[in-house]
């Protein structure tokens, strides 16, 4: 039982991060139809920039804030310089562009920072709480609470603010949104900014637990993508459920089966979802119109 709880705790913690990555995918996908393969780099940036500004003597909260701002600027720049000029391009073209951006950011990070692993001090001590014989790190609670707060803030933003409603409207019907006077380009830009912020926050929260390095983004992006698909691409609630599910599956299979193929779980999830329920958990059926 203690073992089971232990795996569950670690699964939920990483799952919360996957959920944030999945939310980032979802936001951009909804607003623009683009799947942003550079989504994981926002998480990497959040962690790495915090680590290095903190190491340079900046207090942790300020370092985190700087990292957040850097990630948002990168997100907006990605949209403005790489996605918007290629508007209307085919999926293959957009895939190459966002992968190019991901490699570019990774290369930039390895130059600006370095190629080793880094960590941050836990935000609230490192003395684990014992629950049912399993250890729960305070940082895990912070990750879960932080992810929860981000989800609620995002929900509030999307349903209660004008900018957020503009994103939802654009997602529902781009043309109609433009007809009622929404600047849909600005909305897509906004979705990149918000996605970057969500990713960076995830990176900041998780670094004390999981370490970060210049190339930690790729795997995170894929796992986030698996989560987003499991929860039906484009569905924010699904992204959260998907993220936690992928995290749990990964933790249990690492614990009970083999840890060397832990990273394979996400892809098996992707394949399983694609073949067994292509619409995901929260999807509705649809047919192509000809």
């Amino acid at each position: 039982m203690a073992e089971f709880l232990q795996f569950a705790f670690s699964g939920l913690t990483v799952g919360a991060i996957y959920a944030l990555v999945a939310l980032g995918f979802t936001l951009i996908y909804n607003a623009s139809g683009v799947i942003n393969f550079a989504q994981g780099e926002f998480v990497m940036l959040g962690g790495m920039v915090t680590v290095f500004t903190h190491a340079a003597g900046v207090p942790l909260p300020l370092a985190a804030l700087i990292a957040l701002v850097v990630a948002i600027i990168v997100g907006l720049a990605l949209y403005r310089l790489a996605i918007e000029p290629a508007r209307g391009a085919s999926p293959v073209t957009l895939i190459i562009i966002t992968i190019g951006a991901s490699i570019l950011l990774r290369g930039g990070a390895s130059l600006t920072f370095d190629k080793s692993f880094h960590s941050l001090p836990p935000f609230a001590g490192s003395k684990p709480l014992m629950i049912g014989g399993a250890a729960l790190l305070p940082q895990s609670l912070i990750v879960l609470a932080g992810a929860g707060a981000i989800v609620i803030a995002l929900w509030y933003f999307l349903t209660r603010t004008l900018s957020g409603k503009a994103i939802l409207a654009t997602a529902a019907n781009r043309l109609a949104a433009r007809l009622v006077g929404i600047n849909t380009n600005a909305v897509v830009g906004l979705s990149f900014g918000v996605s970057a912020a969500i990713g960076a926050l995830g990176g900041i929260l998780m670094t004390p637990i999981t370490l970060t390095s210049y190339d930690s983004g790729t795997l995170l992006a894929l796992k986030g993508f698996a989560a987003a698909m499991l929860g039906s691409m484009g569905n924010p609630l699904g992204a959260v459920v998907g993220g936690l599910t992928v995290g749990l599956l990964e933790a249990f299979s690492a614990g009970y089966i083999s840890s060397s193929y832990k990273d394979a779980v996400a892809f098996l999830v992707i394949l399983g979802v694609l073949f067994l329920m292509p619409q995901g958990l929260f999807g509705r059926g649809g047919m192509e119109r000809v």
């Binding site: 509705r284 059926g285 047919m287 000809v290």
Partner: protein, 262 residues
């Protein structure tokens, strides 16, 4: 024996009934028109018959054989071909190549032979090309054979789709708005082409908004409204049917009706 028999066909999309209990039969060499106001379910009906959507109820028979739910490529083997309202031309291929794709089922498809271009493949390519040129002459597109299809005007693309569908040597041809977007001269050409196709023994099912064309060339007309059959018969029967006038002509077709009387 009917070439196509549709029996009690029904389909719904997310709770909305798009087709309900539609039945009719089409004989070889017959031109059978399906008309109805926008949203009546005409294109959906075509998509069900040609295997793109599986029906919820009913059966489709081709030449007596039950083919309900078979995928489109299986139906093509049994002699069904069609065109599309929203043109599905292979835009990056040349006009001749578009037609050559239509010959697919009549070509030997041994991939190993293709890998090493055996002489038989070359001979076959030449034969396919010659056949394509005949069909292009039939729809009057010979001059454009080596142009990229994407660069063709709209009316020419409509005829290209018809020629490509004919390349499969169909026994049943579904034409979805073949004259849409065409000028009167082009419409006239398409009218001739359709009549020639039917005269060669092919069963033609036609969805068309141009009432003048429909009334002129159709042997029988089937009227749909909101997914249901409201009338069937000759041009004269349909024109004088009160339900049809109320549902279709009465709503926004007065002018077309008047034109059709000319």
């Amino acid at each position: 024996m009917s070439m196509l028999a549709v029996e009690g066909l029904g389909i719904t999309f997310g709770g909305v009934t798009a087709l309900a209990d539609v039945s009719f039969e089409v004989k070889p060499a017959e031109i059978f028109a399906i008309i109805g106001p926008n949203g009546a379910g005409k294109t959906t009906l075509f998509n069900v018959i040609s295997g793109l959507y599986p029906p919820r109820q009913g059966r489709v028979r081709l030449n007596g054989e039950d083919v309900t739910g078979l995928p489109p490529d299986r139906l093509a083997r049994r002699g069904l071909s069609r065109t599309f309202q929203n043109l599905q031309v292979f835009f990056r291929m040349t006009v001749a190549e578009n037609i050559m794709v239509g010959r697919h089922l009549h070509e030997r498809r041994n991939v190993l032979a293709h890998l090493f271009t055996l002489p038989s493949v070359l001979a076959q390519n030449r034969a396919t090309r010659a056949k394509a040129e005949n069909l292009l002459a039939f729809v009057d597109l010979s001059d454009l054979a080596d142009r990229t299809a994407g660069s063709l005007p709209y009316g020419a693309l409509r005829r290209l789709e018809i020629a490509r569908a004919l390349a499969t040597e169909p026994k049943l041809l579904l034409l979805d708005e073949p004259a849409a977007g065409c000028n009167p001269v082009e419409t006239e050409e398409i009218d001739n082409v359709i009549q020639k196709i039917a005269a060669s023994g092919v069963a033609v099912v036609l969805v068309e908004h141009d009432m003048k064309l429909v009334m002129k060339i159709s042997h029988r007309i089937h009227v749909l409204d909101r997914g249901r059959t409201i009338a069937q018969g000759s041009a004269a029967d349909v024109r004088n049917n009160e339900q049809v006038i109320a549902a279709y002509l009465g709503r926004h077709g007065q002018r077309e009706a008047a034109r059709a009387q000319d």
